[in-house]
Amino acid sequence: MSEPAEFQHRRRIQRDLSRRGFLTTTAAGATAMAADMGQINALQSAAVTQQLKQQGTRVILLWLAGGASQFETWDPKPGAKTGGPFSAIPTSANGVHISELLPELARRMQHTAIIRSLNTKVADHGGGASLMETGRLRDPGLDFPDLGAVVARELGRLDSSVPDYVSLYTSTEGRRKGTSGILGARYAPMFLSDNMIPLNLAQLDAVSTVDHKDRAALRDVFAKQFSKHRNNAAVDSHMSAYQRVRGLMASEQLFNVENEPADVRARYGPTQFGEQCLIARRLCEAGVPFVKVARAWWDSHGQNFETHQELCADLDHSMSVLLDDLNERGLLENTLVLTLGEFGRTPRINASLGRDHFANAWSCSLSGYGVRGGVAYGKTDAEGNTVVDGEASSADLFATVLQALGIDHEHEYMVGSRPIPMADFGASPIDEVLA
């Protein structure tokens, strides 16, 4: 499965160039971009979208909370004792078959790489979620940031006026807020649970929009006078914080899908997950580097097949529309869309026609930016009990995602004098799924 070293080297150089280009462009254009989020609808114009496309990379993580079955999604085993009742269907990628429960995604497989060989070993909800969120086992002495915080740190802009990391988790089961750990609160997610529109962002009723703008302008005048002859990081930081708060207040409208045309909303469909995928697109379009949309709850100990008929229908439709929408706006080439959960489900079907927790041989998907679409990497045995080719750990997946984004997974954060690599020690990106 390995490719020639020369090709790998060339690809790394291309990525490095791309990364440098991104940073240069970002420095020049970030302040102007989305500075006034009250004008969000202007972002729908092709010209602005084109500008955005050149400025940044984004990630949408579709978190399949509770653990989706690999048999009923990316690694079907029709006819096997463990395979369940569903058939496998061909996809737009030659030779790649997925579950019949994902017909729309099958038609878009050219955008998607599947990894079928995750062996992550941890099969309890809390431990599995932590492992897959951070790419490493818990370390009592180290609060490692999750993927969203790492991406926010690496791809977010210091002067950004939109959130760097937004996490939507509406269901209560398995709800996790995410953590920025050692990176600090600056990269913690804006976490939305009960309401899809953030609370406490709205302008007070007692303050009119005119008054609000006047106050901001007056503050700017004083602040500029104060900072005129002071080249001081603390002053800059203070200014940046105000700019950021102003942007966050205006970003309230980003979360309101009623600002979208009716036909776009109809396209995403009536489900909550569909609506949240639409919000994710709006946030990415506005420059938010990392959006997590959790779809709970896939923990199908009983009635696994009925559960997946419901949840896969939701995933298939919502994710397909999301990919199409991103693609039509030119954003898919800058946006990586992941499906991942804490683990997969057992090959053994239990007496309640359910499947239980299983982390030894399961699947995830990567679509869009940085991904070689139409690829199914890794292999499990005929009944899906073990990985027989291309075994990948959570650290390998973490490294793969970072590499897809053009981030050096071996880069180290220093915690005191302790170097901590972004992807855990020994992690190796899966080059076969990288563009």
Partner: protein, 347 residues
């Protein structure tokens, strides 16, 4: 009636059933969703999750399943009925197959009998017609010998009120063959004139469907079984009560009995002792009792008073029961389920 007796005590004293006992159990290949009798009531045919149809002598010293044919469906076999020497099977693959019960030869195959999973079959008492229900939310009627399609009826929404695919699980003929009842995931029952398809009654049993809007955001349940009384006046509807944690089949086993022509519920049963789905139901001789079987990770066989729903006798089954056949005299129930079969004595 003694002044200290409770109604339940009185019902038990008067009941013709006081015990349910599993006399033997044996292994089966895979999850077995459907069973029908041969000429001898001990001879059973069943359909399995390994896509095959089998026969077995349940009275044999060591019952051994024997494939009826080398041919198989392409997914789980979920419905099986017999008309004379013909078996008709239905599957999640959407097809119906007419088999020679003896040789296993395929007589007819309707590849796309339903556009989605077939959930169950029922055969009219005279053996002339087969009814099938599937997740395309259609009820279809077939000639039991020729495989000709006779009628197709709708009446159900394709999706649940929450926007997800619905399912049509249950179908049953009345004892006189005049009525056909069907039941779906959200608790809707339609009773039709089996000859004309005219809708005679629509009943609602919404407690059978649990939608969890907050914690897990999907659903579980549905009407899984239907049975008419022998006089066709009552219709028993089986499923599961509301579930707290829908990761599991943790709801009470639930039965609602309707005087279906008036639309009035006669009584309801919520059994929290042995939980899970009521997968199959039958009224006993003279409708004096009603037997239900199903389960969660385990299984149960329960007998209730036919007039009031009082529990008369109950037994844990060694497997989740998906289907059973009840002997003509009501003394013996042959149940199939998850990897096992049991013979149950009713006395």
């Amino acid at each position: 009636m003694d002044e200290t007796d409770t109604p339940a005590d009185t019902a038990a004293e008067q009941a013709v059933v006081s015990s349910v006992k599993i006399s033997r159990s044996f292994a089966l290949p895979g999850a077995v969703f459907c069973v029908t009798e041969g000429d001898e009531q001990s001879q059973l045919y069943f359909g399995s999750s390994d896509f095959g149809i089998y026969r077995i002598d349940s009275d044999a010293e060591k019952p051994a399943p024997e494939p009826v044919s080398d041919s198989r469906h392409e997914s789980y076999v979920t419905g099986l009925v017999r008309s004379g020497d013909t078996l008709v099977s239905g599957s999640y693959d959407g097809s119906l197959i007419w088999w020679d019960a003896e040789s296993g030869d395929v007589r007819h195959r309707v590849q796309s009998a339903h556009e989605k999973w077939i959930r169950r079959l029922a055969i009219s008492p005279d053996g002339s017609t087969v009814a099938s229900v599937g997740d395309d939310m259609k009820t279809r009627v077939w000639n039991a010998k020729t495989a000709d399609a006779i009628a197709t009826w709708g009446g159900y929404e394709l999706t649940t009120p929450h926007g997800y695919p619905s399912m049509l699980y249950a179908v049953a003929f009345s004892a006189d063959g005049k009525w056909l009842a069907t039941g779906n995931r959200t608790g809707k029952v339609i009773v039709r004139d089996s000859a004309t398809g005219r809708v005679e009654a629509t009943l609602e049993a919404p407690v059978m469907y649990t939608w969890d809007p907050k914690a897990r955001r999907h659903s579980i349940g549905g009407i899984r079984s239907l049975a008419f009384s022998s006089d066709s006046q009552l219709l028993a509807v089986g499923g599961m009560g509301l579930v707290g944690n829908i990761d599991h089949l943790g709801g009470a086993s639930r039965i609602e009995v309707f005087d279906w022509q008036s639309g009035k519920q006669r009584y309801e049963i919520e059994d929290t002792k042995l939980k899970g789905l009521v997968e199959q139901l039958k009224f006993g001789p003279d409708d004096e009792w009603l037997v239900a079987a199903g389960g969660d990770n385990g299984g149960f066989v329960s007998v209730y008073d036919g007039a009031e729903g009082t529990l008369l006798a109950q037994e844990k089954a060694p497997m989740h029961v998906f289907d059973f056949q009840l002997s003509d005299d009501g003394s013996k129930l042959r149940a199939v389920g998850f990897e096992r079969a049991s013979v149950v004595e009713i006395a």
